[in-house]
Symmetry: D3
Subunit: 282 residues, 6 copies
């Protein structure tokens, strides 16, 4: 399991290192001799699913290619409090310089993977995909979407160019011209070969969209009973996605309505970092 | 109130727009005529403190310089559910293209400012500063630290080069050479004119550091009674900072110990986005 | 009609200007006084369809924002030999500095649009889309794909991430594991919600792919009679794309087979620049 | 034979890979296991001169440094239909991810080298240089000029700063001030130590330029008999360059006029890609 | 008079501002209200020739586009102690943020122009050009070469690609193959149409080079009497350049030998900044 | 001893190489076969302190990773005329391509280190630090500040964000509001935890600043007797820095006043390059 375009990841890492190290590490340079060797462990402070181990490794190697980073767990592994996630050996000063940036990636991505895994677990046994949204942190979307995959989720659109999703705001603009869902779907279909998904707010709109040939429907904040009706109407002709107000408490109930996808913005817009720390033995 | 180096902010915005719009917005381009005008409102879905209004404005202007963005609230303002934060007028398609990226900034930064404001409120009347840490999201540190200031907090170190902070891991490396806190402080002082802060784990270590002339002490996860003793020992000779395990529940108690600074990693490492959405009238 | 992400276009223009002007324009600087005004016309030397007029304009404005560029024809317009495409007024030296780079964009993009328009014309009256491929010039793909749209064509995949296209080489790798088209389609469908297209080499393979639920079939270098059979088998369940060896001579015949899309690599891999030149009156 | 500044080439490659792979390769990632090994051959579909083999190699190595690329032919080699140009071994998925970008470079550069070689061949035995122009594809000029050298041609100016070439448009601006070719050459000579070339439109202008001490003359679209006269007048005092309307049909005749250089814009502005494809055996 | 590629200058300025302002200006932000207006003067502390006034202006405008910068002297003007070079009006805080970077450019470039002007003055009345070398400060070569022009000097090669200069080290490598100056010149001539200059160490070598058709000779550290002989031998067939050990004390004597060019590395490798300071009235 | 953020150094080197080699090295490419091996020595032409040996090495390795660079002296070593600083072995052409850029770094940084060392030597035995200022060459500040350290100096502020220094211009702005040194110091202290330094022009101002709790005083162009008084008043409560008009002639006298720091702008704003050259044996 690997982020899909490593080059971008390297650029993201370099920017993060530049934020922290552009003017050196005055503490480490004052106290630690460049020759001093050390050994550090990254330790889990709570239970969770890891994501970003390779990213953390790359952080250390970009700080100092002579460091050795041994991962004891890989991405997607479940760790418990006290587990040693990885061991880093080499120049103590280099380890200290990379510590914060490496943990900033690892704790955040593992937080995303852990939360995603909770949603996946909550819908276990049901044929539904938990997906992310485009509500990601500016600048690190590829990594956050990767973490969702690591946690067992699927990715929704990467960007505004790889899928047509006609949302309420598009329809508002469209309707002001006296046109409706049907015409929107037709026009979308004539513009490209990409799939066409439409946000609908009622069973009636869902029916209209299905008849117009939508490939997928987005049910935003719809009552579960209504979801069930739309699923039935669709009969597999279109993918049905639920979205809006979904939490760990109600996700299983939503899933049981028979929808194909449940997208959860909070997976990436409100991340709780996984507790991981680095301890050095010099 | 403004992020300090706007150039960097522009680069961060451009990267975010590139993530979302490098391949165009196929939906908007298919459905919305380039000429169609619209008017959109950014609306608060819950109470909180705004941060990033100028950033959101810049997002829209970079998507289309002909858009008009009118902020009804400025950064640091408190909004309530239903408040209209800003109104954007101009080409409907341009508004839709910028919507997600603008909100991704605004909801996240406002989330940080709101949480910071809660900590500041919780210590109201006490002479203490709530500060951030370097536990920020890779790539957007300047914005996150700005949001902390907007929320009434202060910034701790920007990076590893603008202040000496001798942490437990530095001391571990240093002690393995048979040297202690005192020697560490002396060596740090000889390397630069920057302030020297030391992490101490007990009242005794605090005393040792004060005698060696530390400018500031970091008390990590120390009992409140011990904090109080260190504050007393310091008698204003050094700044005292508390850190570790601090929550909205215990922050006032910690502050009452007399410490000068309380640093809270969660302000930036575990952000809950403020609920803000965009509604278009075309 | 406009390239979809202008920011990228600006970067492409800046790179082109850097190639030509990083060390100044020694001729112009030696001969032309900075104050001398001029007026230049871009003139068509042959018939064709314009693309890149806004790009050429931007080149001149980035060389010197005080230039005035008046387009007499817009993108998608058909010009004839002798037509004045645009007039540029302002400092003669600035016009001369931008001339070559502006024409390098305009002649190339117009060449693409003109050729695309010929294919579209050749299939006039038939319900088929002429599309490009990923065989574009490294570094200017967005512009080349834009030029195809200007010429009346449609874009196929922008990149390897916005659509699943299982080609012969993928199948070769897949088959070596004892698996076939059917399993490939199933696996692809389980990995994402994107459309799944499969390259097939015979009517039989086409049938297999249709049964496995492919959203589209790519018929590479297939006999026209076979194409017709596949179209019939599909009955609209899947889009049918023809590709390989298609020229202006045979494109109508291919289109008449009933395929939905005809993709033509030569539109971008073997471009003949449209003859356009700049004449200065000082 | 090697592009002169490899660093630039790497940046050009990275941009091309970013165009195609920024959002991963969804097909390959869905179908091909990261461990699956493969072996691919790049095969010539027609006769031509190779250029860009090292570039194609670098593309694959940047996608995956563990790939092994063995070139069976080097740049400047002539290949025939069916020849195996290179073999790539390693992870099948990595080969597939790099395929298109590698071929986009190799087919285009080989197209340029092949066409250049045809012009060189057509003037075989004559003391004349075939040169390119600045009519190159924006963003990849160094590679296109390299391909011309590979095909046996020479490079004309790299950019507007490395040689003075007084063209008709410069003279138009200059003449509007009541000054002529002679004054232009003098002024150019006083501005720098670079060579001074002047475009002339008649034998008379050529004579004037020679007397004013031009280092080279550009004869644009001049009748062959006139070229011959100018060559004679020059008596080796200046280089004579022919340009404009030169094709494979007339290039030998032009060369026989005795000119030193023949510049051909079409070498780079209207490239026909060489037919090369990749076949994978897994 | 203007740097030839302003785009590059903007990038150089942005890098300089990033060095100084990436983490804000903590002093100004603490003390000066964003609304406070001010007026500042840039004042000459000694006599010299200005260069970089437009660059300094751009620095201030990039810090804050609302600043007004009025230049009272332009580049190439001679200023005396106490002269007000420019006045900047607007937000006091913005002026203070830009001060150091603006002066770092202006004092350095003016130092170069001033020293160049001294050399030009020392050779007044003689037909000789004072030129720079490639011994420039890494990263700001275009600006340093511009400052030389402002001071009345001429530019030698911009980079290793715009002129052939066969130096002693090239000849050393070439001679180890049993080849000499003559063969070197011939080979150079066959490689490109650029001028060919050769470094010679004696009158004899000079003669050899002239006979082989060198366009220019570089006399490195040659005795003045020998220079005179080479000048005589050349009879205008080639440009003669003197170099090495040239100071303000001996430059006139060297010039009187009749050489065409005198290149002085110290113009850019050992710059004494011109004394200029900024004074703010708030 | 090593520049603190090597990544930045690599970027600086790449920019310098781009300035010189973006269009190849036409001389070397014409004359030297890619296979020819050579051995070059970097030789000191005068006495001085080296800085930048690793930078020079990196330049050669970035031009050609197959070169071997053996340093015979390291940074901070004192060399004498005739000393061989380093030997480079490998392709002769690669050595020649890197020569100028490598020397441009090495001679300039060694010039800075040498001059710094002279100041340090002149104050030998006294407890004072020689420091640099922000008067550095735009774009290479980290390297210049590194060279100061190599010469035995200390660095003052890296940028405007890592220390508060209230200068005369800040005070001028502040005083126009009817506020004084005392209020400035208080306000600064309330804005951040960074040290607060204030520029004072008289003993009286110094006393006022000390009473207001300044951490450091900057005495600009103050008489030595006054400096002594301020030192006495401070009694170690604050660091005292002297600045302005300091030369090798008076630096010891200034130091004997008891100040803690002496900052010398000329260390970086008026550098005399150390004489170092490269000689090739092929």
């Amino acid at each position: 399991m690997h982020p899909s375009s490593w080059k971008q990841v390297e650029q993201i890492i370099d920017r993060a290192l530049a934020e922290d190290l552009s003017f050196g590490d005055v503490t480490t340079e004052a106290l630690i001799s460049p020759e001093q060797q050390g050994r550090a462990a990254i330790i889990a402070g709570e239970e969770g699913v890891l994501a970003g181990v390779e990213v953390a490794k790359e952080v250390f190697l970009r700080v100092d290619p002579s460091l050795r980073f041994e991962a004891l767990f890989q991405d997607a592994a479940k760790v418990r409090k006290g587990d040693v996630v990885a061991v880093i050996k080499g120049k103590a000063g280099s380890i200290l310089k990379g510590e914060r940036v490496a943990l900033n990636f690892l704790t955040r991505l593992s937080g995303i993977a852990s939360e995603t895994a909770r949603y996946v677990e909550a819908t276990k046994g049901l044929k539904v995909w938990i997906t992310d949204t485009r509500k990601t942190t500016p600048g690190i979307r590829p990594l956050e979407k990767y973490a969702v995959r690591v946690g067992g989720g699927k990715n929704h659109r990467q960007h505004l160019g790889d899928g047509i999703l006609i949302k309420d705001n598009h329809l508002a603009a469209f309707r002001s011209l006296g046109l409706g869902i049907k015409e929107a779907i037709q026009r979308a279909r004539q513009s490209s070969t990409l799939k066409v998904e439409v946000e609908v707010e009622s069973v009636g709109e869902g029916e209209e969209a299905l008849e117009a040939g939508a490939d997928a429907l987005l049910l935003d904040n719809m009552a579960i009973e209504d979801m069930r009706q739309v699923v039935e109407l669709a009969k597999g002709r279109a993918l049905i996605e639920a979205s809006g107000g979904i939490t760990l408490d109600n996700v299983r109930q939503v899933a049981e309505s028979g929808v194909d996808l449940i997208s959860v913005g909070a997976l990436t817009h409100s991340v709780k970092a996984l507790d991981l720390s680095l301890e050095l033995e010099a």
